[in-house]
């Protein structure tokens, strides 16, 4: 890790990446659920039709905006923090938040198996930061 980077700064940048990524993931996943199976759409109206179906969704565009914010905070974070910490840590935090957000907003069936996965990943993140 970069010696000049404080613990607070490290985690503040990582949490920012995660929070914006969760918003982006939930919005795009919700949009894709509304649009439907892309393989079917591509079979019916070709690749252009599939692309048009995706980019004409406001929910998707809002999701992309959040993802762009997340991307630039990741770029910023990677210039200060090791990739073997920053990439898994931000992505795992995103994953935990997404499990809760997917149940809350997308009404996905987050069963015992998926929660167990979330806990394991969370423990993994703690170990990664040691």
């Amino acid at each position: 890790m970069n010696a000049a980077t404080s613990t607070f700064e490290t985690w503040a940048t990582i949490v920012t990446v995660a929070a914006t990524a969760i918003a982006g993931d939930i919005l795009t996943a919700g949009a894709m659920r509304r649009i439907g199976d892309l393989d079917l759409i591509r079979a019916q109206s070709g690749l252009a039709g599939a692309i048009k179906a995706v980019v004409s969704s406001p929910m998707f565009l809002l999701g992309v905006l959040s993802m762009a914010l997340s991307f630039f905070s990741l770029l910023f974070t990677l210039s200060k923090v090791d990739v073997s910490l920053a990439a898994p840590a931000s992505a795992s935090l995103t994953f935990i938040g997404n499990a809760a957000a997917a149940k809350l907003f997308l009404h996905e069936n987050v069963d015992k198996r998926r929660w167990l996965a979330a806990i394991f990943v969370c423990a993994g993140v703690v170990l990664l930061s040691r």
Partner: protein
């Protein structure tokens, strides 16, 4: 109906996993060359967009996005995300052997835990059944 995936769809998940991790590593390598960026000099981020490593990282992440969206169109978010967590192993190996970052025993244990977590989800159904709304095409 239990949602199991065709081999072609597993290939999409594999692409999601590989492009994300290799893309991140390329970005990290490029940003290492660009150097630290402070809040006072955020304009340097645009300079970073001229670095070939950063450019190839961005291209790979674009490929990631396309396959990620495809996967989301036929599987739950809580299924796709952990499926891609195997990428952490790829990141760890790439940063260890190519970027020569040190990975402690704790970090290796963390990576193993994450991979175990992925195993739980991968065995389950990939899509939540919502009984109420019928697809529009079926209404005709």
């Amino acid at each position: 109906m239990k949602h199991t995936l065709t081999p072609q769809r597993y290939l999409i998940l594999l692409a999601v996993m590989l492009t994300a991790s290799i893309g991140d590593t390329l970005l990290s390598h490029g940003m290492g060359q660009v150097g630290p960026i402070s809040f006072a000099h955020l304009g340097l981020l645009f300079l970073a967009l001229r670095n070939p490593w950063v450019i190839s990282g961005i291209l790979l992440l674009l490929g990631f996005f396309a396959s990620y969206l495809t996967a989301l169109s036929w599987a739950d978010l809580t299924f796709v995300l952990p499926s891609t967590a195997f990428g952490y192993v790829v990141v760890a190996l790439l940063s260890r052997f190519w970027l020569h970052e040190h990975i402690s025993l704790y970090r290796w244990l963390g990576i193993i835990l994450i991979v175990c977590g992925v195993g739980f989800v991968a065995n389950g159904p990939s899509l939540t059944e919502h009984p109420a709304p019928k697809p529009e095409g079926a209404a005709k």
